[in-house]
């Protein structure tokens, strides 16, 4: 049939009526049923200290790669985005491919943890977790895998510890040039944003405020998502996926006050990481000090960390074995969901496999 004839083809009325009935029936089911369970892969919490929880996922195969993986989750969100459901879990995929997987996941910081600074994450939580992974696995080398701000923290750690024990560094959507995060940069305009007043008054930054900020990046996204949900109500897989992402997106974590203040002032205002002026624990963070193999995966349609914000990473590190991949998808769909199953996960496995022996 020609394109012109296609354009004027009559819709299948019967099928549309059937879809409408199914949509209404499934809609009732949607309203009355519980959200699908997430984060189901068996794991042990091997250490917990305040906002930090260190998990070890139980291996699913008899033979694994020598080098364990330590995933550093973004500080604003729960780690179960990487372990959504069987068949849609990056963690499960890595376990089945033979990796020994650990994760630094975050709990809501307590009121007294408002004093936590970037240094506490980079010079305490990460090295402490690495030591525990080394002790439990019996291996000296560890691969760090960082997602979003978890990627920033991993990068900072790697730059300050060029002598190890990191063997590889895999990063997803990690910003380096914060001036290129246009809206966040505009909203944190130092002429108007009194971050000191905010933190001094409220302590930790509440998740509602963070959620609103992320939501405002795409103000029509939520409404359009609901329309899409209604349209696809008869599609069980779509509905399940929608519910999982929606719940995860809404379950944001508060941010430690000082950590937020420092992120705004030093990374967002002064762009110190990009300029090579960031100092942590008395030492300058220089990206050129990173010499280990690095993979940086960025998303083509990332509205949170635009490509331009993450691009300078590979250009500025000192590694000779380094690779940047730009994959179709958004900030979250890069790492989780059907898009990730086809694109990022196989790439990550290919890249890690040869470097994990």
């Amino acid at each position: 049939m020609s394109a012109a004839a296609d354009a004027f083809a009559l819709p299948d009325i019967g099928a549309e009526i059937e879809r409408a009935i199914q949509r209404n029936l499934k809609g009732l089911d949607f309203l009355t049923s519980a959200a699908p369970a997430m984060g189901q892969t068996a794991r042990d919490e091997i250490h917990r200290r305040g906002t930090l929880s260190l998990y070890h996922y139980r291996p699913l195969v008899d033979e694994i790669y020598r080098v364990p993986l330590l995933i550093v989750m973004a500080t604003t969100n729960r780690g179960y985005i990487l372990d959504l459901a069987p068949g849609q879990s990056m963690v499960e995929h890595l376990l089945l491919q033979g990796y020994d997987v650990y994760m630094m996941d975050w709990n809501a910081p307590r009121p007294q943890e408002k004093q936590l600074r970037i240094e506490d994450y980079v010079l305490d939580f990460i090295p402490d977790s690495l030591r525990r992974v080394q002790a439990r696995s019996g291996e000296e080398d560890v691969t760090l895998v960082g997602y979003c701000m978890g990627g920033v923290l991993s990068t900072l750690y790697a730059a300050l510890h060029p002598d190890g024990p990191i063997k590889n560094l895999a990063l997803f959507t990690t910003p380096v040039d914060f001036s290129r995060m246009k809206l966040f940069h505009a909203w944190s305009d130092r002429r108007y944003f009194d971050v000191d007043r905010l933190i001094d008054t409220i302590g930790n930054v509440p998740p509602e405020m963070l959620f609103a900020s992320f939501d405002m990046l795409r103000p029509a996204g939520r409404s359009a998502g609901v329309v899409q949900l209604w349209d696809n109500m008869a599609n069980d897989e779509f509905v399940k996926s929608y519910r999982m992402f929606d719940r995860w997106g809404a379950e944001m974590l508060p941010l430690a006050g000082e950590y937020f203040r420092q992120t705004v002032k030093e990374l967002m205002w002064d762009n110190k990481l990009f300029k090579g002026e960031l100092v942590l624990g008395g030492r300058k963070v220089l990206l050129a000090n990173i010499k280990v193999p690095v993979l940086h995966a960025l998303a083509q349609h990332d509205h949170i960390v635009p490509y331009e914000a993450g691009r300078p990473l590979i250009a500025n590190i000192g590694s000779t074995d380094k690779e940047e991949v730009v994959l179709k998808g958004g900030h979250v769909s890069l790492a989780a969901g059907a898009n990730a199953v086809r694109r990022l996960w196989p790439k990550l496995d290919d890249w890690l496999g040869v470097r994990s022996t």
Binding site: P11, R49, V61, R66, G138, I202, R218, A220, G353
Partner: protein, 142 residues
């Protein structure tokens, strides 16, 4: 060129929704990046913070006068309880890991896998006898 039939209302609805989302996001992003928006947003936030602080201070004085615990007192108590809870969890974990092999066997810990896996490419390239090396767990294969 549109891919939907003009006679299919659902397809038209989907297309319209997608266009509305795109144009609304673009317009809103442009507006929210503007100077007046930033000024207004933070002006509102600062006013709210001022009110919140004033109310918090007033309540704290009022509660102190009535000899009742303030929010800060309750938070401090909560922290202490949390700290005790953390210690108990650490003791519990230490006891679990300190149990003998017999006890461990009954626990849910699976047997340790061998750390000898090679990437599929290397396995395919390796000669047959070396394809499945037998090494003890924890030893390096490099």
């Amino acid at each position: 060129m549109n891919k939907f039939s003009p006679l299919d209302p659902m397809a038209m609805w989907r297309e319209l929704t997608a266009q509305w989302e795109k144009s609304t996001n673009e317009f809103a992003n442009e507006t929210m990046a503007s100077d007046p928006f930033r000024q207004g947003m933070h002006g509102g936030m600062n006013a709210s913070l001022t009110g919140q602080k004033a109310l918090g201070d007033l309540m704290a004085r009022y509660l102190a006068m009535l000899n009742l615990p303030t929010r800060a007192d309750i938070q401090a108590l909560g922290e202490q309880l949390q700290s005790i809870d953390d210690h108990l969890a650490n003791i519990s974990r230490a006891m679990e890991s300190g149990r003998g092999p017999a006890a461990s066997a009954t626990a849910h810990a699976p047997p340790q896998p061998r750390r000898t896996k090679k990437p599929p490419q290397a396995e395919a390239a390796a000669p047959a006898p070396a394809a499945a090396p037998k090494r003890t767990a924890g030893k390096r294969t490099r």
